[in-house]
Subunit: 351 residues, 2 copies
């Protein structure tokens, strides 16, 4: 038995997504840029996928750019929209944002202090709608209004929001970055929403695919899979995840990190006072429960989370924290087994 | 019946590649950066794929960087290796090179005049091993020796070489860019070979995957598929393709574009004097034969090929040209049917 509670690192591919992708991997060689019948068939698939997603996001199909990952989406947006001046962002962002803004003058603020951090030299804002490690949510409408009022382009990292909560493209939002594999979609897929009146310098140039904004032969199976994964997003799953998450938290004697603001439905970042988080993760792993320390990046989980550190938690609390992240396929039984694990663990520890 | 002769645009996925990918799309959620058992399993797949490819290319596993496309690979190499000075390249390159070098001082030369074009301000060279439109081959050993002698980093676009001819990483070659979908591998996959003593500024930064050189959660099914596609490359297929191609050309009354130098085994860029290439492509398409005008890019094939133009062919010859590109699954019957098509076409035209 294995219980997977690391869905903010990656999710299992939905079998219905795979089913949608398979015909595109089994039959003809499809390149949407080719002018022969195969090429036209490929183009039709591409157009349909784009339309499906634009219907979900309530935007124009031409406002969508397919990429290979959330990281590529955010890198593209930051480098492609930056036009001088200072970028306003937060120390809580994903490393793909923090590493990208390093190239430019940057001012850091906590997400709840954006309004007071705004000054005349701010030319671009980059914030995550949902923090991937804690699930803490940005007041997106408020920040979008600020961006609109001050006429500052606003990039939203929506990787941890898509598939976990509703998305509204408030007028102040210039662009959003998304990832496929976090929503039971295919790995190697990402997406950009870019409001139509904004110019973007492409990160990858060449054949001029994606309206000239992202070159390279389209990953058609991936695009169709991503479109299917988005089509499968169902608000009733948000309620299911929240019910599971709340059931978990209400039966555990743990401190909830990021609980100061609203949180998305699927994340539980928990501190167990006196427990070593690394050891706990190993015990969870041995018990067949996959969890994590925070963001999965190539350095592993050995450094203390930069997110929890920036939130001001002390090192003891950070060291005793683990992230459990649920998905729509997480079951009541998964949660009950996890609760059983913790019950046994603390029973053994206290003897 | 459909005959696919546009394999330099994209190829059909090999069923054995799909078979290698499927387990990674059906089972666990695999993120090689996660430290739990799923993560470790993912890491093992990644390591094995990298080793398989490094064995084929005869390089170190650490010299390989997985990307999402040939275009991303070449964009990454050009922007990531450029350190000032002038780039030497040719007007025959793929648009992903020509668009990328636009950002820097650039000197253009024909590939057979590289030696005389070298001057003290050249700091980086970018050339394709094989021209994708004509199949014309670079004298790679000679150029690599020049690069080595003059100590100028050399980037090789090997997209149209991989799977069509042997690859030797001559000491003067700094880096190579590859694509997966041109070798019966998955779309949305690319590869970089980067010699170990060279520093690269990443195009996509973030979580630090791929030795910090290409961030974003690894596209594990894609990587495993690419590795399988490379494992399946068989030199006997080069001979098969050349035999088919030569059979085609020797039975057609056409001028062969790019025949001035050695050509790779699978490309036939043919001019039929007095024929309109666009019309011919449509007739081929109606007859169930997929071919192209040249490089498939989002602009379609409506502009005259920049490659044939730069090679000095006159507009009449360019307008009357089509590219037939074979793969290892092209059969004698495919070629015979194609010859039959041309025979009927010219019989009808001359009546």
């Amino acid at each position: 038995m294995t219980i997977y509670l690391d869905n903010n690192a990656t999710t299992a591919l939905d079998p219905r997504v795979l089913k949608a992708m398979l015909p595109l991997m089994q039959e003809e060689p499809l390149n949407p840029s080719s002018i022969h019948s195969y090429g036209r068939a490929a183009k039709a698939h591409l157009t349909f996928a784009r339309k499906t997603i634009s219907d979900y996001l309530n935007c124009q199909p031409s406002e969508l750019i397919f990429t290979s990952s959330g990281s590529e989406s955010l890198n593209t947006l930051i480098h492609g929209l930056y036009r001088g001046g200072t970028i306003l962002t937060s120390p809580l962002e994903h490393s793909c944002i923090l590493e990208s803004v390093k190239r430019y003058p940057t001012k850091m603020t906590m997400p709840d202090q954006i309004e007071s951090a705004l000054s005349s030299n701010i030319s671009l804002m980059v914030f995550s709608a949902v923090n991937g490690e804690t699930g803490a949510m940005l007041d997106l409408e408020h920040i979008a209004n600020l961006a609109n009022y001050h006429r500052i382009p606003l990039i939203i990292d929506a990787v941890a929001l898509l598939g976990r909560g509703p998305i509204t493209l408030y007028p102040g939002i210039t662009a959003m970055g998304f990832s496929g594999h976090k929503i039971h979609g295919p790995k190697g897929t990402g997406l950009i929403y870019l409001r139509s009146n904004h110019k973007l310098t492409p990160l990858i140039s060449g054949g001029g695919q994606e309206h000239g904004l992202r070159s390279g032969t389209e990953n058609l199976p991936g695009i169709v899979g991503l479109s299917k994964a988005i089509e499968l997003i169902n608000p009733s799953d948000f309620i299911h995840m929240q019910t599971m998450r709340d059931h978990l938290e209400s039966n555990l004697d743990a401190q909830v990190n990021g609980n100061e603001t609203s949180r998305i439905c699927n994340v539980s970042n928990l501190s167990f006072p006196g427990v070593d988080g690394e050891v706990l993760l190993m015990q969870l792993d041995l018990a067949g429960i996959a969890a994590s320390h925070g963001s999965a990046c190539s350095s592993g989980g050995l450094q203390p989370s930069h997110v929890l550190t920036a939130m001001g938690y002390n090192q003891d609390r950070i060291r005793s924290s683990v992230r459990l992240s649920l998905s729509r396929i997480t079951t009541q039984s998964d949660i009950d087994h996890t609760l059983e694990f913790f019950k046994n663990l603390f029973a053994n520890n206290s003897t």
